[in-house]
């Protein structure tokens, strides 16, 4: 192999020191990058029980071994730390251009420790890194920050990730933004940056990466792009972006609505991808090396002025800030999305929190006095926008809601916990598990709290054409089924999706949503490195990542009890195509038993065991473990 196996930049903000570290082949082949690499580092570096918002937490920004190679979907990067939302494994990944640019700038991974005395930002150009003063940027929006940094660095092409005031104010679900509209949304990674007084990371790279077999690699990139183009969701994403199937979700009764008490939304037609395209859509944003360009760009003047620089709402944002709050005004949703991106708030957690507040208000658990006079009735988009401002700035009721629904509901008490739609402390995303029950198991077992990006798509596997026996996907399942086969599918899919997160690939381009299968990914890794990895070996890296994160959580005190669903998602749906369907405690327990069994985990605790860690070549982790 011509290139190095990658460089790590250690950044100590307390000491204001920078250290480079080379990685060796065996480490890289074992962990690949992204989630597995970050989990390894954070397990080694963090003591259990530390304050996620204290200087002892560390932030890992990580790419994959093939990041920078131009094929569609290969654009992502992962930000990881202990989460201030879940007090456990925290991870958020995003698309755009930052990940490849970091590689071109000479680094595969950043590990940021300590806390700066006053605000700083990190700047990396072609192998040279520098910590710079950011006092003048503190309090600024992500957009203002972006522009100011490009200007002061004389780098119009710098790719910059930043926090907004929400991160500065330690809102527990503050996110990190790059390009003003690509969000490392979940788990409060923006609050961790804020706690370290780290406003931004700017990178600019012009280095050419060298690979083992560049000719073969280029052929493979072409094949992969062709497969992306032909993927199941290609045309829909191309035309309507991620909002493309919102109408179908409504039609099939799977559109989270009114804080998950409903799954169809009377106003759905006003907020579909098609409606967006025909009303406020004025362009699209792009990601590195991808011809699909699913990110939207929107603008409006009435009833709210929406700034196109902050992108357009993705499906998660549209549903969370829209149907979940009974808001059917597309412009208001776009404005809410703009505010979240400007202030650096995760749109999913923000929407779920607003929806929670609306339900508390309806039920009399929050009164107008407590809401600073805001009339939080369902569908009040004006109030929703004011709430976003308050949350970001931690003003009045916003200070309570900035804690997320788990903590806020505990403080409100009087049964508010029932309306707090979270798992392990993180707000539930916009996919209804009662219409595809494997997702329920995936939600419950996700190490980063409620998450739709661990494993999904029971419904695909009703059709035998999607089976891949060589990967262990060898039986069709019904979307509504529970039990052993479903648990096995979720386990295999989770390992597969985990390798996407180690390689930092987009799940819309990978099988089953996109056309790029794990085998193609293995081809690309091999052409890049000269290795001979098999799809199975890659899946094992994914499994390793899941086990490492699970151990991280175990050390923080999480166990089987935390692999659960909000009560509301266990109750039967009261409308729609899947009316009557729920995921009972018994269903879930049965699936958990099987799931732990397939993973080789202890059924009582839900923890990895010595033997299964040894099988994953993680003996040393077991030995270091004190659980």
């Amino acid at each position: 192999m011509h290139t190095s196996y990658g460089k790590v930049l250690w950044v100590d903000l307390t000491k204001s020191s920078l250290t480079e570290q080379d990685l060796d082949e065996s480490t890289v082949r074992k962990y690949i990058g992204g989630r597995a690499f970050g989990a390894k580092i954070l397990l080694e570096e963090l003591r259990p029980g530390i304050d996620a918002l204290g200087p002892d937490n560390k932030l890992v920004v990580s790419t994959g071994i093939v990041t920078g190679i131009p094929f569609a979907g290969n654009c992502r990067y992962v930000v990881m730390a202990k989460s201030p939302l879940t007090n456990a494994w925290g991870e958020a990944n995003a698309s755009g251009y930052f990940g490849p640019e970091l590689r071109f700038a000479g680094f595969n991974h950043l590990i940021i420790e300590g806390r700066a005395r006053s605000p700083v930002y990190l700047c990396i150009k072609d192998g040279k890194a520098e910590i710079r003063d950011a006092e003048h940027l503190w309090g600024k929006t992500t957009g203002e920050t972006h522009e100011a940094i490009q200007d002061e660095l004389h780098e119009p092409k710098a790719r910059i990730l930043s926090i907004g005031v929400a991160g500065e104010n330690l809102v527990r679900y503050a996110c990190v933004l790059s390009e003003l509209h690509r969000a490392n949304g979940r788990c409060g990674m923006g609050a961790v940056m804020g706690s370290k007084k780290l406003k931004s990371i700017a990178v600019r790279g012009t280095r050419k990466l060298k690979y083992f077999d560049e000719k073969r690699l280029m052929e493979l990139c072409r094949l992969a792009n062709k497969e992306v183009w032909q993927g199941a969701y290609g045309d829909l994403l191309l035309k309507y972006g991620t909002d493309g199937d919102l109408d179908d979700l409504h039609a099939t009764g799977r559109l989270p609505t009114k804080n998950f008490t409903k799954c169809t939304f009377s106003g759905y037609q006003k907020i579909t991808g098609e409606t967006m395209a025909e009303t406020i859509l004025i362009g699209r944003n792009t990601c590195y090396a991808c011809p699909i360009a699913c990110p939207r760009k929107v603008a409006a003047k009435e009833p709210y002025e929406v700034d196109p620089d902050y992108g357009g709402p993705e499906y998660e944002s549209t549903a969370a800030l829209g149907s979940l709050c009974m808001i059917d005004n597309m412009v208001a949703i776009a404005k809410a999305n703009e505010l979240c991106n400007k202030y650096g708030l995760d749109t999913i957690s923000t929407g779920v929190t607003i929806s929670f507040a609306m339900e508390c208000y309806e039920k009399g658990l929050l009164t107008e006095k407590e809401t600073d006079g805001l009339d939080l009735k369902w569908g009040n988009s004006q109030a929703s926008l004011q709430l976003i401002e308050k949350i970001a700035k931690r003003e009045g009721i916003g200070d309570l809601l900035a804690e997320g629904v788990m903590r806020a509901s505990k403080r409100i008490g009087r049964g508010a916990e029932k309306f707090a739609m979270h798992i392990k402390g993180q707000e539930v995303p916009m996919h209804e598990p009662r219409g595809k029950k494997g997702l329920g198991l995936s939600y419950a077992t996700s190490n980063r709290g409620a998450c739709h990006l661990q494993a999904e798509h029971d419904d695909f596997f009703e059709d035998p054409k999607w089976l891949r026996p060589e990967l262990g996907i060898d039986k069709t399942v019904d979307r509504l089924s529970v039990g052993a086969d479903k648990a096995r599918l979720v386990k295999v899919l989770a390992d597969m999706w985990a390798i996407y997160d180690c390689l930092s690939l987009c799940k819309f381009t990978g099988y089953p949503e996109g056309g790029v299968e794990v085998e193609r990914v293995a081809d690309i890794v091999n052409a890049a490195t000269g290795w001979n990895v098999t799809p199975k070996e890659l899946m094992t890296v994914g499994e390793r990542a899941i086990n490492l994160c699970r151990i991280f959580n175990a050390r923080e005190g999480m166990a089987r009890k935390d692999d659960t669903l909000p009560e509301r998602l266990m109750e039967p749906l009261t409308e729609g195509m899947y009316e009557g369907q729920g995921i009972s405690r018994k269903d879930l327990d049965e699936m958990l038993d099987y799931y732990y069994e397939y993973r080789g985990w202890d059924k009582r605790t839900g923890w990895p065991t010595k033997s299964n860690l040894e099988e994953l070549s993680l003996k040393e982790v077991w030995e270091a473990l004190k659980i």
Copy 2:
């Protein structure tokens, strides 16, 4: 109306002076902007017979009255001057972001006169303009120039148009580039900038424009975007860009091949939009306010390294640099496109010139001695790339070919004129008129020389659903017909397309290619201004523009004799679906008679008459005229 009717910035490079001028409502309503405005200015300002590459020429950069209003297709701007290629009316328009940015920076039009002593660039920010030294930028590529200017102005968001070395070297078909890949391609406008020692124009604007009825305007923008989305070409452009129907053009025998001696290309499958999407496509570029994003972004390493910053080949470029030269290597075509954008060469004229040279080489009119040793056999992509370098730098054979095919063929002599595919001195674009004969008339009568953007699409009007009696399009025609009805259709379409060029709108979004009809455009103009223009009034502005350009050409000595086609396009096609079809001298003469009659022009000279100019409220132009 709340806003001004627009500001003109006069830039005298000889005196290094800047002067602002306000426009009054009657002027703006009469000329709108773009082509009509530029023609008015250049008729008033230029004496006939001046050297197009001398200091007496003037360059007009013009937007339309609604530029800056966010609806799809409303992104263009027009660059005009006397053309060094045709020695007559010169005009080139481009998409992207420059036009709207110029409006946001406070100006509707720039008029640039004189010649700087040493290289300069013009910089405009929010109403303030400055002429800056560009000595250090002379000789640089468009990409290097772009980056250097953004940096030295501390304006990462500046929109910049630049010439490359081709413009500096006065290549007669040098173009102007903005965003590195949006070209004001035709008529040698880059050479005019080069002759003035003007390297670039950088604009940055943050002003908000005010309009008469902003609420109504926003509704209309939404309607227009919806109509664009539903337009005839929408889905094809979305998925495959302008190369989307290259395969269809081959299948129907209308793909210009081997210097127009063929109309089908055996290698066509290797260069289609679909092939591009499945091989080298790695992203897409965008234009202001448009959700379609048809511009491509491509990259490759083998057999040529292609830099994605320079965009991907549009259909015109793919055919001119591909099938016309019998080149079926997509990567080579992308590389040729990159070089043209880097050096600032019009891809159409460049491709036609290379194809011309290949035919001369085949026929023994150019030998290897004269080609500096290049083996210019059909399909030699390596030689084609070397030729592009030589043309841009005017090295060896490149110096001859930099003059364009009309001049080069005259110098070569010995019958080379037969292979010189040009009209009025400008190389013919990539549409075969023998398969839709109205295009032949449109080619012949175009005031800027061979051009596919004056009026097209006989084939649409075989179907009554495309008829618009209120605009004068009231009879279906056969694509192969000639005669009165065809001439009338071309006249009406030309007036309509001319108004797009006055308003600086994209023809892919307007009727018939896109869904936005003239009536919708009139609605938008009225909501913006408070006027009550009808579609008919707008069409009259278009007709006014055509008459002004025609008078410009008449003053330069052009007449009916110049409204012609290259002999080769008059001969019958020898293959394909339209085998045997030609446009005979008699066919063309008959159509010209009718065309002039419908325009009220003198049939002998092809010039406007006193009465028809009076009808167009251009009495003063007639009076000032000395033809």
